[in-house]
Subunit: 404 residues, 2 copies
């Protein structure tokens, strides 16, 4: 039997047991949860079970469950937005679910892998998408040797969950409902091996405005001795194992250097990869004198193929006045660009914040000021506005999926 | 209040509910568990709670617990042995607990970091331990930004657990009771950050003889595109995040190449690091014509400081007839040694198997036969015998800790 959204079983919290909704102005990320969750169990013999929406409750696992010992786990993060029209929308859930679960040739990544931008005789910048070179990319579930799920059915299940808890989507212009699909290996046996039992669950919770008092630029610590991901590793997958090792370094960056984020470098040439848990973007005048938006290429395998990253690239590529480039990028290029006053804006991009402007990078014992906010970050802000206009339904787009 | 072994509270399974013990000849690693477990809860405000020994039971956690999302988890593995004298002993538990939890200057690692062997004028080989260069090494708990525990008290708690379940230590000359201390981040909040709640638990279970029908040498796949750990990463810590990414590659090695283990290489020069989840050992005649036992140095940070590794080095260093060397080791040296018939034995070393002889390495499209078993692996077998003699109490040693 195929496990599908039409089989979903819903056990609702009793009206009198519904939790009070918190003040949308006072939300702390990841600390408040909605009344319900989605669970789907899997076993290698019987396959996926029936999708269940039920009251949020603890997960009970044998202490030998593989998730506790070998980090057999992966997740996604996306959001539901309440528009001025009071409709609730989720943003490109198909892309998150493809990254997590798809076994098919994936629409998301090949389109941007090795993408080249070029300027035509009409002076417009266009993207060349070498689809013929598209490589087969694994989803997080495949790379973790965990079961895959039908992407469409999973989006439908999530939509039902959001629908049941739609009152948890904040009535607020910048707060949102964060959605966290998770897959864990639950087989109760020790030994580093494929799991024969798994649990897919989705929890949601309201999260506050990332910038309640206006954009607050961050400082980054760029120290090549700290590595987030390496070649041959799993940096491009949203597996739990990418995160635990970064906590110690984050704390060191904050406590020793007063930096809110780590700029993750790689290799002897100090290749720029990510910012904290975000993708990295640079807007500058390149050595050829062109206005250019650069982000590290996915080709290296070191970088998470962010949905926000992809969306910002797609938006900027329609403007026609800026060259868009995905390529390997090195610290010495950024330093040279800074010295020559060619660097205009640097920002991180991700689901939580959309964009996070950078004002400072500590690198090689020196502090480099980044002029991102000097002219109010016009490129960063244009991207922010265009993306949030779609997310909140102010601009119609098929990237936004309405919840009934 | 300090959480200590003398405060331990024991809730025993009722006599009639004790599980039947499995046949010690038919044990599958990690699938059978003893009747009891040890649990100690921690919270950043109240500290460690009272140690509890209680019936083995599920762990119940909020679905947002950090362990499920960000792999905030670490573990250890050690064993209890029943000797011919019917006494139960555990092997060097202080070393495992130091690796896991210690905040003190650690006895275990500095002693072997950068250890050099030299041959004296009396022809004997001695170790030079540059204690003055000993570096402060973090325990797994510190690197994971999780709470530490008093090593001595934790060993005492474990001894009580083994004592309660001592009938689970197999009455068998080569089966053992495997002990799995684990620490997980249980704070129920999303966000990649330090956990404010944690659970330390220890489960145990009988495991069979690793070689029920005599030593069975393994084949290794050595492909530099697969990386276990990298510089700046956490390869030297027993964190869960080191394991999930290896499962896919293990399966590929077995299915595509019929190799039971992966020989993990690193970097452009194909540095040899580990074998599966074991440390790597090479016994050969080196280019100077000396008999030499070589294992990769811990200095690189790529390698787990194994307790079996350390113990084998310490045993071999007393022999006096073999040079013992810890240093970076590269595939081209091994290939050259094979061509010149200087390679005698290659084996992996770890708690599960003690030693695992290697008969084949697939590397760079070629299959290299390793003559480990050609003369019945005299060095490997001598190490195996000396270590298991201590573990099973046939030879007295303060490495073996008796359980009352």
């Amino acid at each position: 039997m195929k496990s599908q959204a039409s089989d979903i079983q819903i056990e609702k919290v009793k009206q009198e047991d519904l939790k009070p909704k918190p003040d949308p102005e006072k939300l702390l990320f990841g600390h408040q949860f909605s009344d319900h969750m989605l669970s789907i169990e899997w076993n290698s013999t019987s396959g996926w079970g029936r999708p269940l929406i039920h009251p949020l409750r603890n997960i009970s696992l044998h202490p030998a469950a593989k998730v506790f010992h070998y980090a057999v786990e992966l997740y996604e993060g996306l959001k539901a937005y309440r528009g001025g029209d009071n409709k609730v929308r989720i943003f490109r859930p198909d892309l998150n679910m493809e990254r997590m679960y798809s076994t098919a040739e994936r629409a998301m990544l090949p389109a941007f892998e090795g993408m080249k931008a070029y300027r035509g005789p009409d002076k417009k910048v266009r993207l060349f998408r070498p689809d013929q070179n598209a490589r087969r990319l694994l989803s997080s579930a495949e790379r973790s040797v965990m079961p895959t799920f039908d992407v469409h059915e999973l989006v439908e299940c999530m939509k039902k969950l959001i629908s049941v808890d739609q009152e948890w989507v904040p009535y607020h212009p910048t707060s949102t409902l964060y959605i966290r699909p998770t897959l864990i290996g639950s087989e109760p046996s020790l030994g580093v091996a494929k799991t024969h039992d798994a649990l897919l669950f989705v929890i949601t919770g309201p999260v506050g405005p990332y910038y309640p008092t206006g954009f607050k630029p961050v400082s980054l610590l760029a120290d090549p001795k700290y590595v987030r991901a390496s070649k041959g590793g799993v940096g491009r997958y949203k597996m739990g194992s990418n995160y635990a090792p970064t906590i110690y370094i984050q704390i060191e960056a904050l406590e020793k250097y007063d930096c809110q984020q780590v700029l993750w470098l790689y290799g002897d040439n100090h290749q720029v990869t990510e910012v904290g848990t975000m993708n990295f973007f640079l807007y500058w005048i390149n050595e050829e004198g062109e206005k250019e938006l650069v982000t590290p290429s996915l080709e290296s395998g070191l970088i998470l193929p962010g949905v926000t990253r992809k969306s910002l690239l797609e938006l900027a590529s329609t403007w026609g006045d800026i060259k868009i480039t995905e390529r390997d990028l090195y610290m010495n290029e950024i330093i040279k660009g800074l010295k020559e006053n060619r660097v205009k804006e640097i920002f991180g991009a991700g689901t939580a914040c959309v964009v996070s402007p950078v004002e400072k990078i500590i690198y090689d014992g020196k502090t480099y000021n980044i002029p991102t906010m000097a002219e109010d970050a016009p490129v960063t802000m244009r991207l922010y506005k265009e993306l949030t206009d779609i997310q909140y339904g102010r601009v119609k787009s098929d990237w936004s999926v309405e919840i009934d």
